[in-house]
């Protein structure tokens, strides 16, 4: 229990977010209206994705220093979890956009950045599957993971700020800014970010455990 307190925290926070996020009062803003509640579900996905992918890069770096199959599995499963969270982020954003902007997808720097991130990690998965040798697969996908993260990730935080965007939070559109994220919303938003991020790590941990077990079974069969 001592090491698993954060899982309990994740459950409590997410239950709170689900209830409070849907029931607590939110500011009445034009266009956004009740859809502002998506802030509690859509935005934390990206926070969680970034955190989990950073963890994946961390394991890749450690793999390159000391190559062990465990580190490779951890990095791979963290990357996969990040991809899932990214897809949920895209889906929640897309549904939100349909009702607020009237289109599932618009040509917007933030949306394009998210799509590129998904393409990069899709390429990572394809790269992994195109090696027969396990050690080579582990090392080369670790290299690509670090390279892609360093080359593309900073840009997702810089590029949208250089260009005008329709996305909330940019170009004077109402969203996550000091004047409209009122204190009531903060009460839910910050727990939501922490909760979803913890859930992301939990998922990655579970997936890694399954992968460890699979590896064990495989090794036993070989022996």
């Amino acid at each position: 229990m001592k090491n698993n307190w954060w899982k309990g925290l994740a459950v409590v926070l997410l239950l709170y977010v689900a209830v409070a996020g849907l029931l607590m009062p939110v500011p009445r803003l034009a266009i956004l209206n009740e859809s502002i509640r998506n802030l509690y579900f859509h935005v934390p996905m990206w926070f969680g994705m970034t955190a989990v992918l950073t963890a994946s890069v961390y394991y890749s770096v450690r793999y390159l220093r000391t190559p062990t199959p465990q580190l490779d599995i951890l990095s791979h499963e963290a990357a996969k979890t990040g991809i899932y969270m990214g897809f949920v982020g895209l889906a929640t954003g897309s549904i939100w956009a349909k009702y607020t902007w009237g289109a599932w997808w618009t040509n917007d720097p933030k949306l394009n950045g998210a799509a590129i991130a998904m393409l990069i990690y899709g390429a990572y998965l394809v790269l992994r599957s195109s090696f027969q040798d396990e050690q080579q697969r582990a090392r080369i996908s670790a290299i690509y993971n670090i390279f892609a993260f360093a080359a593309a990730m900073p840009l997702f935080f810089i590029l949208p700020r250089l260009t005008a965007s329709l996305h909330p939070g940019a170009g004077g559109n109402p969203a996550f800014a000091k004047y409209d994220l009122d204190s009531n919303m903060r009460l839910v938003f910050y727990p939501a970010v922490i909760g979803w991020t913890l859930l992301g790590f939990w998922l990655a941990q579970l997936a890694s455990r399954v992968a460890f077990l699979k590896q064990k079974v495989y090794d036993k069969q070989l022996a």
């Binding site: 393409l119 390429a123 195109s130 090696f131 050690q135 080579q136 090392r139 290299i143 390279f147 810089i158």
Partner: protein
Amino acid sequence: MQLVREIGYLMQKDFRLEWRQRATLSGMLLYVGSTVFVCYISFALRGGELPAPAWNALFWIILLFTAVNAVAKGFLQESRGRQLYYYALVRPQAVILAKIGYNVLLLLGLGGVGFALYALVLGNPVQDVPLFLLNMALGAIGFASTLTLVSGIAAKATNSHTLMAILGFPLMIPMLLLLIKVSKNALDGLEFDASRSSLLTLVALNMIVGAVSYLLFPFLWRS
């Protein structure tokens, strides 16, 4: 100092090889030429002049594909035995820096020829040529440093040519967006201040990509 000498030798070797088997070099030049001509023919059918945004986008797409094709052969062409030979002679950092340097010069040459041909057949709406050329040089450096490591990664896998595109394109989209933006500014003859921040971001991006390639290549090399 030793490193600089090794880079010098390796680049010299690359140029000498290129010069001796002129087929690949002339093949690439012809590739640029025929792509430009295909674009010219397909737009000439409609008659009238190409609007500036389309001119710009088309030019960069041509350069992008040329770059992928030109850089891809860098590591794909080197046989395993020759790689081992370098391994015994020089340090890995020299290999990657020499390859990047060689590819930068190659892409500069190809980009210059492409621009000349393109302007010849499709007209030259660029109002600020020095800025356009500076931007193209930054583009060549960026494409070369991104694609060189990617080609090194792809060369290790089985389906290298597909991998080259799917690994490289998403990584290059952010760079490409910045390049297209600056080159549009050059086309419209905007003041330098309008493109300064994008140019600085490009320089920073090139440095990140170069540094990460430098750090990661020794690991890629070992296999």
